[in-house]
């Protein structure tokens, strides 16, 4: 017969001691004293860079990471300072953020919402990241933004172009510097009308996810306002690699323009397929058949090679811009890495500086103080001209670039040429615009 020493009193005592022991680190953490998640110590502050390091957007993620490392270097007083001297706000002095050295941790989004949330969560909970930034997909941005809102940290979005990020899925803790599908359409449509006329019939192929839907809705509305007719919109699975069966019926539809609402590998393959079918050599309705790619990326354009020549699209930023901020960033990035930065790198670098600046101006790492400093903030000197971080939806408003594939590139980086810098006023919209309706910003969450 066995004898046990287990008593009710003993269990309660052990439970109380164990509970107190487990609770002690949390009680002693700075967060609980300062009232917000992951409050930094006196010597350093940790930022979380959540970028695709594996998967289809790994090259873009690598460029984002380069930009973040450059930003950290500049914030800590290293290198040539990059955009710090050109930034209209002058509170950043190369001594870190509020006197704390900037350190960083990285996560791999894998361009999957679940993986991105998991890596962001690990950076917040295990590595003490006070701000999460990065990403190269709207699906990921929306997912991570939601997580950051719940966790009580600031999310400075990387490359995300869906209207939903600052539309129906906007969050008080989330901020987007990158432009969106509406802005692309508003900038691109007048140029398309000028180049191809007002009497056009467009056939859309659209990636079947949040970005594709909002991109198609935006460009269709903008081109229809110019007099174009939308003949058809075909949703294509995101995993598609061969678009021939979607492209083959285009000519027979009566359309004389093909709009490819595709990004990344989808864009490379659909554009390559369309060119293979000889669409660009065809005449329909007495006009030359044209192809449009509303969102361009230089890194992706490289994949499509010669096929991008002469094709119009839009981009958030391009290394050939000649403003002082862009020149300083290109010089800094190009000297360090040997090639010019992508638009993804630019927006990530700028977001890091904007966060550091907001903390410094607000005098606190508290997410609510940071949000307050960013809301309605007007700045210049970071490329794209005078820019506003609108308080109502946390979307940046700035000039947008309309570009086209360069006919005679002088180098492997020289793939796009700027056709027009569309002024900010032309791409602005009301915060309650129907394409952005359905969500609430809510109130900022400091966590802890």
């Amino acid at each position: 017969m066995s004898k046990t020493n287990l008593t009710r009193r003993g269990v309660l005592q052990t439970g109380a001691v164990a509970g107190a022991g487990l609770a002690l680190p949390t009680y002693l953490s700075a967060a609980s004293h300062t009232g917000f998640t992951n409050a930094p110590g006196d010597s350093s502050v940790t930022l979380g860079f959540n970028v695709p390091q594996t998967g289809a957007y790994a090259d873009e993620g690598a460029d984002e990471l380069r930009a973040y490392e450059l930003a950290v270097e500049h914030l800590n007083g290293g290198g040539d300072g990059g955009m710090l001297p050109t930034f209209s706000s002058k509170v950043l002095d190369g001594t870190g953020i509020l006197g704390r050295k900037v350190e960083y941790v990285t996560g791999d989004t894998q361009t999957k919402s679940d993986a991105a949330r998991a890596s962001a969560k690990a950076m917040i909970e295990k590595e003490g990241a006070i701000m999460i930034t990065g990403g190269s997909s709207s699906g990921v941005a929306v997912a991570v933004q939601g997580l950051c809102q719940e966790a009580g940290v600031i999310f400075m979005a990387g490359l995300t172009h869906s209207n939903d990020t600052t539309g129906k899925d906007k969050k008080a803790n989330g901020f987007r510097h990158f432009f969106n599908a509406y802005m692309s359409a508003a900038a691109l449509a007048p140029v398309l009308a000028k180049m191809y006329g007002n009497d056009r019939k467009a056939y859309h192929l659209t990636a079947d996810y949040t970005w594709g839907w909002t991109q198609q809705e935006s460009i269709a509305a903008a081109t229809e306002a110019m007099g174009w007719e939308t003949v058809n919109n075909v949703l294509t699975p995101l995993a598609s690699t061969d678009f021939s069966s979607y492209i083959a019926p285009v000519l027979n539809s009566g359309a004389d323009v093909l709009v490819l609402n595709h990004y990344g590998g989808n864009m490379v393959n659909s554009l390559t397929n369309a060119v293979q079918f000889g669409l660009r050599e065809k005449q329909v309705n007495g006009k030359n058949f044209e192809i449009v790619v509303p969102l361009y990326s230089r890194l992706m354009a490289r994949g499509a090679g010669e096929n991008v020549k002469g094709i119009f699209g839009s981009t958030n930023w391009h290394w050939s811009l000649q403003d002082e901020g862009s020149k300083a960033f290109v010089k800094s990035f190009g000297t360090k890495y040997g090639f010019p930065p992508s638009q993804a790198a630019h927006t990530c670098y700028v977001q890091t500086l904007l966060y550091a600046d907001a903390v410094t101006r607000g005098g606190s790492f508290n997410p609510c103080a940071v949000a307050e400093a960013l809301e309605g903030f007007e700045f210049d000197g970071l490329g794209n001209g005078p820019t506003l971080y609108r308080a109502e939806d946390h979307q940046c408003f700035k000039d947008v670039l309309v570009v086209k594939g360069k006919e005679n590139p002088t180098s492997e980086f020289d793939l796009l040429e700027i056709v027009e810098v569309t002024p900010r006023a032309q791409v602005e919209y009301a915060a309650d615009h129907p394409m952005f309706a359905g969500g609430q910003l809510g109130s900022c969450n400091p966590g802890a």
Partner: protein, 343 residues
């Protein structure tokens, strides 16, 4: 009617790729009894042989052009391919233009060596292991290969164009009495279909009309008896593995201009190719080819707007749906042999 012809044509090139990959898979399964999940990676390596040849032909020397500047404002470094200086700009440009067909010459030995190393170095150790072990190890190998390719070539697709002479499309509609531009088909896809037909024909002829092929077919039917006759069947099967790798590689080389190669393309084809093998009948070479074309064309039909409007999402599941129906009605697949994978 025009839409039906159009989708049949569209299905041909994808069906060609499925058929070529499934043919290699069936050869390996039939001879070695190995379920090779790394076969898609061989297709991908073939496509990257085309990328490599294109890059090698574009190896350049650098000269400084002080009249132009680079993105940092320094004098522009102009790159000129060595083939331009060796053969003159015109011939050099033509050589680069034809890099994909030229890559066939490079891919054949490379793929045979890759197949040989893969079989001798890893897969032969798994002949007597359960199929589950074979699947796990070859799947792992496929991941290693694709990560290696990503490490050296990056994650983004790399454009690898067909020769200029094959740009544009052939207007079948006009030939059949339809209006212009109703039924068009890119020239390169026609080339791909013809190429696949030649390769498939050559493999069948090789197996049917050569002594080597006869021994391999005998080995596929009864490996033990052929061994007892004093024939080193293992050596012949190793050569067959190399041959299957070469077929997959050639399919990849010629597919490069159709879809810009990326490190993941092997996986994209692998699962569907296995479905093709199962539908065609495990171990049946004609079955693999037939099912390859059949499923390629069906997939193409399923992405027609008219069909998608009735059954949304059908384009993504059609192959699996047809596979289920065929396996329910013909459990051994379309041309499956009795006794194969039934023990």
């Amino acid at each position: 009617m025009d839409a039906i012809i159009l989708q049949i044509l569209n299905g041909l090139d994808k069906g060609s790729a499925y058929a070529l990959i499934a043919l290699g898979l069936t050869l390996i399964f039939g001879t070695l009894g190995v379920v090779n999940f790394a076969h898609g990676a061989l297709f991908m390596i073939g496509a990257f042989c085309a990328v490599t040849v294109q890059r090698v032909l574009n190896f350049s020397y650098e000269t400084i052009d002080p009249s132009q500047t680079d993105f940092l404002g320094n004098p522009l470094v102009v790159k000129t391919p060595y083939v331009f200086s060796w053969f003159g700009p015109e011939t050099g440009a033509s050589i680069i233009d034809w890099s994909v067909p030229l890559a066939i010459l490079f891919a054949i030995p490379v793929m045979i060596v890759v197949g040989f190393v893969m079989e001798r170095g890893l897969i032969k150790h798994f002949y007597k292991r359960p199929h589950a072990d074979q699947i796990l190890v070859t799947f792992g190998l496929a991941i290693v290969l694709q990560e290696l390719i990503k490490y050296f070539y990056g994650a983004n697709p790399i454009q690898t164009g067909a020769p200029d002479v094959f740009r544009g499309s052939f207007d079948f509609g006009v030939m059949l009495g339809f209006d212009p531009n109703v039924i068009i088909y890119p020239y390169w896809r026609l080339v791909y279909f013809a190429f696949a037909a030649v390769i498939i024909g050559a493999v069948f002829a090789f197996l049917q009309f050569t002594t080597f092929g006869m021994v391999v077919r005998a080995g596929m039917a009864d490996r033990e008896t052929v061994g007892l006759l004093g024939i080193n069947i293992d050596k012949k099967f190793t050569i067959m593995f190399g041959l299957a790798a070469a077929v997959a590689g050639l399919a990849g080389v010629m597919y490069a201009p159709i879809n810009s190669p990326n490190y993941h393309m092997g996986m994209d084809f692998l699962v569907l190719s296995f479905v093709v093998v199962v539908v065609g009948g495990m171990g049946s070479l004609p079955g693999a080819v037939l099912a390859g074309f059949l499923l390629g064309i069906l997939e193409s039909f399923a992405s027609m707007n008219e069909i998608k409007s009735i059954l949304p999402g059908i384009d993504q599941i059609i192959i699996y749906l047809v596979a289920i129906i065929i396996l329910l009605t013909r459990p051994r697949g379309l041309m499956g042999r009795k006794g194969v994978m039934e023990d």
